[in-house]
């Protein structure tokens, strides 16, 4: 019985012009967007290679200690091939990092703009796969089901169906199942075709693990699609005229997809402000001054002095204290980002995009890892230079500054990408939010449909 209903619904969909347009649009959009983003990735790789060559040229030379102390060393994370699926925070992560070693502070600096920034994309969002699913597919899904119940009522066919011995819940399940099948199959197909064709536009070099991530992304996209189908069904069973249902659906979509995600970040900015860099710098300087005041002995004429051992101790303390201030600020920043993310979970589109980012290695978790790896590099790099310097001073004395050092042996940026397990753990709350939203919407649809007056 259930199958008969599903087949009937499916047949109705497939023969509908609206469905054919939706499928065509999905296929064309998904494939062309994936290809476009793959080209974008190829250009990014090219730019990254060129810059990496330059950085390498600097790093492969020998420098004297004094030269190293006023040089800056550049590092840059290679672009993420799965950025084609979800670009997410990739632009923030692709900024080059420059390290400067100075005696009193060692601060990673983030320089310049991300590679190949498209100015127009500051106006409009990057059309990656996740964007197409989040915005376009959800829109099509609602357009697809808004009249599933109330339309049949208007046509009079609903009375006909319900007059035969079919339980109502079965009818609704069949409607949902058929709509899901009808939309999911072309979506999954076009994702597969798009990502499969991407190597034509650029060598993405996706391995089995990456394909697994693409598969998980597709599953997530289907979950997201299911949510919008349920929501559309719910609206359709709550209203009695397709025109009303359509309007409600569109406003719901505007709210969930366009308004709420942006609102989340802006509210987070207000609720959890992070102090400006200038403030942090000022606090760090004040702290350093305080430590120096405590440690050094004042001498006549306004100068300060200390024994060598004291001097080293003071330096260590200042380093520790300032680093602590930096870390506290970073933690606050992360807290703000997490709040923004949690607020955005009210919108399925934002939850989906965040989860997709985690799966593609361009999400909040990856960004955190990247920032931490830059921190680690900074520690290791300055630590290594200091160690070499101390050794040289011990053995060569004042000649040390002119001793050559192989910069190639100094530490490099390690590309930290969360493992699949971590990515899954990070994406899980979003997936749960999507499932919960789905269940809620479907239950609403069910209750409304059971009480529906088909006359």
């Amino acid at each position: 019985m259930f199958l008969t209903l599903v087949v009937k619904e499916l047949r109705g969909h497939v023969l509908n012009l609206r469905y054919q347009v939706a499928v065509g649009l999905t296929l064309v959009l998904v494939v062309s967007c994936v290809l476009a983003c793959a080209r974008g990735y190829a250009r990014e790789v090219e730019a990254w290679r060129a810059e990496e060559r330059e950085f390498d040229e600097v790093r492969s030379q020998d420098f004297t200690l004094s030269e190293i102390l006023d040089k800056s060393f550049g590092f840059r994370r290679p672009p993420e091939p799965l950025g084609v699926v979800c670009y997410g925070l990739a632009s923030a992560m692709s900024r080059p990092v420059r390290l400067e070693v100075s005696v009193w502070r060692g601060q990673p600096l983030s320089l310049g703009s991300p590679a190949e920034a498209e100015p127009v994309l500051a106006f409009f969002q990057r059309p990656d796969l996740a964007y197409v699913v989040a915005a376009v597919v959800s829109f099509l899904a609602l357009l697809f089901v808004y009249d599933a119940v109330c339309g049949e009522k208007e046509d009079g066919t609903l009375r006909l169906i319900l007059s035969s011995p079919v339980p109502r819940d079965l009818v609704l399940f069949a409607k949902w199942g058929a709509a899901f099948l009808a939309m999911a199959a072309p979506l999954a197909l076009s994702v597969a075709v798009g990502v499969g064709l991407a190597p034509l536009a650029a060598p993405l070099g996706l391995g089995a693990a990456a394909w697994l991530r693409v598969g998980l992304f597709t599953a997530l996209a289907l979950l997201y699609l299911a949510l919008f189908l349920s929501a559309g069904l719910a609206v359709s069973s709550l209203t009695h005229r397709p025109a009303t249902s359509l309007v409600v659906c569109l406003f719901l979509w505007i709210l969930l997809v366009l308004a709420l995600p942006a609102l989340g970040s802006q509210v987070a900015r207000v609720l959890r402000p992070v102090e400006t860099v200038k403030h942090t710098e000022a606090r760090k300087q004040a702290k350093a001054e305080e430590v120096r005041d405590r440690g050094f002995r004042r001498v006549e004429g306004g100068g300060r002095m200390a024994e060598w051992a004291d001097y080293m101790r003071i330096r260590e303390e200042i380093k520790r204290e300032t680093r602590q201030i930096d870390r506290a600020r970073r933690a606050r920043l992360l807290e703000q980002a997490r709040l923004a993310r949690n607020l955005a979970r009210a919108s399925p589109a934002a939850a989906f995009l965040h989860a997709a980012g985690e799966l593609s290695g361009t999400g909040l978790e990856s960004w955190t890892e990247h920032v931490e790896s830059v921190d680690r590099l900074n520690d290791r790099f300055t630590g290594e230079v200091e160690r070499i310097a101390m050794d040289l001073f011990a053995t060569r004395g004042h000649e040390a500054m002119n001793e050559p050092i192989q910069a190639g042996l100094l530490p490099r940026l390690e590309v930290a990408t969360p493992a699949l397990r971590q990515a899954l753990a990070a994406a899980l709350p979003d997936a749960v939010a999507l499932v919960a939203g789905n269940a809620l919407a479907f239950l609403t649809a069910l209750v409304a449909f059971l009480r529906y007056d088909p006359r």
């Binding site: 649009l25 080209r39 829109f139 025109a243 406003f251 970040s265 860099v277 942090t280 710098e281 970073r330």
Partner: protein, 447 residues
Amino acid sequence: MILAIARKEFAEALHRSRFVIGAVATFALVLGGVLLQVDDFARRRARSDENRIAAERMREEAEDPREAARDATAERPLAPLRVLVTGVERGAPETVRVGPGLTSMASGAMDTNPVLDLFPPLDLAYLVGVVGSLMVFVFAYDAVSGEREEGTLQLVFSYPVGRASFLAGKALGGMASVASPFVAAFLAAALVLEASPEVPLGAVERASLAVLGVVCLLFVAVCYGLGLSVSCLCRRSATSIAALGGVWVLVALVLPNLSPFVARAIYSAPSENADESVAARVRERHRAAFNAERRERRRAIREGTLSQEEAIAWRRKRHAEVQEAMEAEVAAATGPGRARRRSLSALTLNLCRLSPVAVFEFAVARLAQTGLAHEVRLQEALEAHRRELRRALWDDVPASGLPRFEMALEPFPARLAGALPEVLILAVEAVLCFLVARVGFLRMDLL
């Protein structure tokens, strides 16, 4: 007659539930968005002022002008109307490092939160351009096809009413009803701007704001015209809403976003980084040659064949020459690349202009001074400022006398002239849409 129809249409629209929901939603979103953006603006302004004071203090304290120049920063001019149109600046830091050797640089370390810029901000430009266009389509899709389905159209034409005047009345009334929530929301936003002391509004900004409102209305007219013409061309309102939905997806969600990629696929340009490294190599060569010459002079001074004063005079003169030759060569080496990049970006913009939403966003960004033209102007001004800094260093200017970066926003006529092509495109599109609606309606089968 036309007026009577318009009045009827207007009154009818006001009673529709979708109109009420849409109007309330528009008003609430615009107002909420403006309030949040005002807050953001105040923060930016505070940060910018703070950084300016800190930079000033740094100059006073610096002993070596070289050191001061290396840490020199410049403040982006803060356009007050960015509260309504964030434009391309979105998450860009307000402070830019301009020290010699650095191209452009975020003010500090990794200190901005990228998560906050993951989604477009809810400013007026987005709310009218993307959200508003969809709402207008929802208001307009059944203006004619709905009446035809209900049979009221036949009833109307049983009276002595001309088709053309009926459509004119309908368009007038419909346009008035569709525009009213936007007008109300815009006025509320303008009032908020006037009332908030953090956002300084001068005469130029007020004039731009007024024109911005007109452009919003024009854009709403384009959308309404499009909706009306589709409604006249389709026999059933279900078809017309599906068609409009498809058009909207393309125009608002896809076309502008894809255009940079499409433009690159059909036209190629060398990347800025590639040119940058070519320029760096040229500069390195000139610098090395100049340093070799300097070493020679130094030796001459040591040997006593050259006096100190002569050497300084030579250094000044020669450096200026070298600088000029170097910049000329850099310009020659990177010129073609820059020209190609410029054509590429023009192509991208023109592809974007296929979408009225993009045309609208460009126009309002130009008026608000947050658009691409402003960004280009800013980058050029920064480049000029860097050159000035280098020259000042060479002239041994003390740290406190180093040039400061100031950039004024464009005067009103320039903004208007810049936005004019976009406004004209919108006007032509609006007229075209209404013409299509008219032709479609005149040929329409009432049965």
